[in-house]
């Protein structure tokens, strides 16, 4: 039995359902739809560039598409195209792609920002990398590249050989000579890019009034490597898989690899053996624990203020997970363990020893968590610091496309492992953790409780693997060495990464390399909520909120 999700074009009934959903939506939009496309994950509705807002408002308010998961922009030979991947927080499998073509000589399209707040950054990124202009966008600047950058790197006519140096003189200089306004009593502070609490090279342009944050604007892009382009230059079969490890590099590698594996396997119609799916699930949950441990430790670090004991204890427990992952995958962070159609290695021999290692870890985990609860969650000062600060109401979170523990800490019951199930998750017994507090404390609690749930999943996986018959240990299906998916097939698939919904959009052009590879990074969307959470609060709370978002700049900037 294949555990892959059934593809729409495999199953006539589902195909019909997808088509009829497309028809239904097309009917809803009426004349707004000027054409139809079929993406592998969803029906595509083509909309005129000056009617984007109207169409999206209708889809949001009347068809329940309250989640703009991703915006993909790309350039064809004859046109530019923006694809809004819409879905709903209540029913993740209900998807629709709104395709907005714009002409080559005048690539102007209406902004979706008034409909979905998250479109703000996504459209800026599309403008920055591809070059589509969004009309009515409140602040259409470059986001990942320096402001002086020439050209749009993912455009077709971009000269990759040309060196570009953005000098401080030309670029908006964060170290500018002091400026003084005649009136007003606020102060502009650069928090970052080199600041102890920004968890990487994040620059937060902050305006403070005394100690209170009046205005705040995260400035990202310091770690931009154009991973999308790197993936577009790699072959499906082998060369893309090492790179997902480097997006969210804080031990969440296998979760990221799964995002690519899922999209590419669906695109090329590859089955994954059940045994391999269990190993994947096992590895992915181990990664989730490791990632949440770091999140916990650094959050404590931000609130406690020194390299305190908690950080070290979290590192100690993460170290155990890392050793297990090293035994399994051969590397501690940059795993490159998944392959299309399975995983590269079976469990390490001797298997009993490996299982024993995992069991020991799981047995020790409740005690370790108890210790964290003693030190963190039951601490009155920490409660005073985190309860009721960094509040992110559910509607705001949805509008900003927040996912993962950030959304679940705001009471949004949304987890792709359950809502759009993949791997072996739907066969296992576990719960989605949701907290209603909407504040820093509930995000912390969500992560701590998710570690327990992950432990439950791992426990079940180990039991399954232990009893697996020896002659059925098939770790990889037979996948050709060169994969060439059909031309003009498009797919957008997401998995539940450590920080939230990690989606991959791939468009194939008939060669062995993707024509467009788009990464929907959860941290990118989550970080957008920071101004919402912090404005009007104190600097320390802003730092705590940033810590509770648990961003990794490698994934924000890609």
């Amino acid at each position: 039995m294949s555990l892959e999700e059934q593809q729409p074009d495999d199953d006539p009934a589902e195909l019909e359902a997808a088509v009829s959903r497309g028809d239904e939506l097309a009917e809803l939009l009426g004349d707004l739809v000027i054409g139809r496309e079929e993406h592998m994950n969803a029906p595509g509705l083509v909309v005129r560039p000056d009617e984007v807002q109207e169409a999206l408002f209708k889809l949001r308010d009347e068809a329940g598409f309250d989640h703009l998961s991703c915006l993909t922009a790309q350039e064809y030979e004859d046109r530019y195209e923006s694809i809004y991947h819409l879905t709903s927080f209540d029913d993740r499998t209900d998807e629709v792609s709104v395709v907005v073509p714009t002409s080559k000589d005048n690539p102007v399209s209406q902004s979706a920002e008034p409909v979905y707040r998250t479109a703000d950054w996504h459209e800026r990124e599309a403008y920055d990398l591809v070059g589509i202009q969004y009309e009515g966008h409140p602040d259409l600047r470059r986001i990942l590249l320096p402001e002086t950058w020439q050209g749009h790197p993912l455009g077709l006519d971009y000269d990759q050989e040309r060196p570009q140096i953005a000098t401080l003189r030309e670029h908006a200089n964060p170290l500018e000579k002091d400026q003084r306004a005649e009136q007003g009593n606020t102060m502009y502070v650069n928090i970052g890019p080199h600041h102890p609490a920004t968890h990487g090279v994040l620059h937060v342009e902050t305006v403070v009034d005394g100690e209170q944050v009046v205005d705040l604007n995260p400035d990202i892009g310091y770690l931009h490597r154009c991973e999308e382009q790197m993936c577009q230059q790699g072959t499906y079969r082998h060369q893309i898989m090492p790179y997902p490890d480097r997006w969210d590099y804080i031990s969440a590698g296998l979760l990221n690899e799964w995002a690519y594996a899922r999209a590419a396997e669906d695109l090329a119609d590859i089955d994954v053996p059940e045994y391999a799916q269990i190993i994947r699930t096992l590895g992915a949950e181990l990664c989730r624990i490791a990632s949440h441990m770091i999140a916990l430790g650094t959050f404590a670090l931000d609130v406690y203020g020194d390299f305190t004991a908690i950080f070290m204890y979290a590192m100690r427990d993460r170290e155990i997970v890392q050793n297990i992952l090293e035994d399994l995958t051969g590397q501690r962070m940059m795993f490159n363990y998944f392959r299309l159609g399975g995983v590269v290695w079976d469990l390490p021999e001797p298997r009993e020893e490996f299982f024993e290692k995992i069991r020991d870890f799981l047995d020790g985990l409740p005690e370790a968590l108890e210790e964290y609860h003693d030190m963190i969650t039951s601490n009155e000062i920490l409660q005073a610091r985190t309860v009721g600060t960094g509040v992110l109401p559910p509607e705001v979170a949805k509008s900003y496309g927040a996912t993962g523990p950030v959304a679940r800490g705001s009471g949004i019951d949304y987890d792709l492992r359950r809502d759009d199930s993949y791997g072996y998750y739907d066969e296992l017994d576990w719960d989605v953790v949701v907290e209603d507090g909407c504040d820093n404390f509930s995000r912390l609690l969500v992560r701590m409780r998710e570690v327990e749930e992950s432990a439950k999943i791992i426990q079940q996986c180990v039991d399954l693997l232990e009893d697996w018959p020896e002659d059925e240990r098939n770790i990889q299906s037979n996948v050709p060495r060169t994969l060439k998916p059909d031309e003009d097939t498009e797919i957008y698939r997401a998995v539940e990464g450590a920080k939230g919904e990690l989606g991959i959009y791939i468009r194939a052009d008939g060669t062995d390399k993707p024509a467009r590879f788009k990464i929907r990074s959860p941290c990118f969307s989550n970080l957008q909520t920071l101004p919402e959470m912090s404005e009007g609060e104190y600097i320390p709370d802003m730092i705590a909120s940033l810590g509770s978002l648990d961003i990794v700049l490698g994934e924000v900037d890609r």
């Binding site: 102890p196 020194d306 950080f311 000062i381 320390p540 730092i543």
Partner: protein
């Protein structure tokens, strides 16, 4: 009542056979030199070595153990390392103030030790107003911090300095008021007298005499004093003037090399001064069985240092508004209540 009559400087001038003004000056200088060096040596142990060892022990780590036995020679290498670094003077600093501030901070703390009785006759001076003098000079450090923050031409420094001043104003009052409740018992601000009063027995249980240390007499005041003291010296959970994750390093952000060493030194001497005040006011000063008084005194202030490090390992930092809330709405009220209660009790009994 036993009153210590000879101070360290008098002893020294006596030993040297000098008298008159020359005796006072020479005795005072030599004594000050000795006391300051005792404190500096302790700081040298605490800063580069003990602090790392303690933090590591709390975090299940191995720490400094490469150079010398137990890594003790790290103290020497660290001193060389820090002092040989380039002193980076940022653009636009307010020059005289920026240079003077690192001197002010450690010396204000060192001045406080002039009146602390350390046992075995080690006390530089024993003025009538000893306690007031100690508090007064210790708060000069705030002036130094304001100077660092203002002169550094750095916004993080400025915020840090403002926080330090806010903290100082909010917690200095409860600190002094709580100390005043001790003075009500003793009836004197003279340090030697405060210590002497505490030497009297409180109760005798099974042959063990518990002295009238004010920590036993009035544990509530002791707790108040410890909290206010932590805030005064800026340690967790009240380390908001530095707050590394929020405002980088607070008022000391722009300092490097020798100036950094001086500021760092000042912080540690301040911790020790806080410990010395707590020991003198509430723990009987240098008193203790078997061991010489000076050893007990050192043990007590190191215990206080250990306590600050322990708190650092497990107590989160408060937010600045919560911190001031506790200071003005909690500590101030409680310390006045304590003062009034103590006054009533002393008045009724006496």
């Amino acid at each position: 009542m036993y009153l210590q009559t000879t101070t360290l400087s008098e002893t020294i001038s006596g030993l040297l056979g000098l008298d008159g003004v020359i005796g006072d000056v020479v005795g005072g200088l030599v004594g000050a030199f000795l006391v300051a060096n005792i404190m500096l040596i302790m700081t040298a142990f605490a800063g580069p070595w003990a602090k790392r060892k303690i933090t590591a022990a709390f975090g299940d780590r191995i720490a400094v153990n490469r150079i010398g036995p137990f890594g003790l020679l790290t103290i020497v290498t660290d001193a060389v390392r820090l002092l040989s670094k380039e002193l980076i003077v940022p653009e636009g600093v307010d020059r005289p103030a920026w240079d003077i501030a690192p001197m002010v901070i450690p010396f204000s703390a060192l001045l406080g030790f002039a009146v602390i009785p350390m046992g075995n006759g080690i006390q530089l001076a024993d003025p009538e107003t000893g306690l007031a003098f100690a508090f007064a000079v210790a708060s000069i450090a705030s002036l130094g911090i304001v100077m660092t923050g203002y002169a550094s031409n750095n916004k993080f420094s400025l915020i840090g300095a403002l926080r330090a001043v806010a903290a100082n104003i909010a917690y200095e009052i409860p600190l002094v008021i709580t100390a005043a409740s001790v003075v009500i018992f003793t009836g004197s601000l003279r340090m030697s007298e405060i210590v002497a009063v505490q030497a009297e027995p409180l109760v005798s249980v099974a042959g063990i005499t518990i002295p009238t240390w004010f920590a036993f007499v009035n544990p509530f005041a002791f707790a108040l004093f410890m909290v206010a003291n932590l805030a005064e010296i800026g340690r967790n959970p009240f380390d908001i003037p530095e707050a590394p994750t929020e405002i980088v390093a607070g008022y000391q952000t722009e300092y490097s090399s020798a100036y950094f060493v001086l500021i760092y030194l000042g912080e540690f001497i301040h911790i020790f001064l806080g410990g010395a005040l707590a020991a003198t006011l509430f723990l009987g000063g240098p008193a203790g069985p078997f061991l010489p008084g000076f050893v007990w005194f050192v043990i007590k202030i190191w215990a206080f240092f250990l306590f600050t490090q322990w708190a650092r390992s497990a107590v989160p930092r408060l937010r600045v508004d919560q911190f001031l809330d506790i200071g003005w709405k909690g500590m101030l009220v409680l310390s006045f209540a304590n003062l009034v209660l103590t006054a009533i009790i002393v008045g009724v009994i006496a």
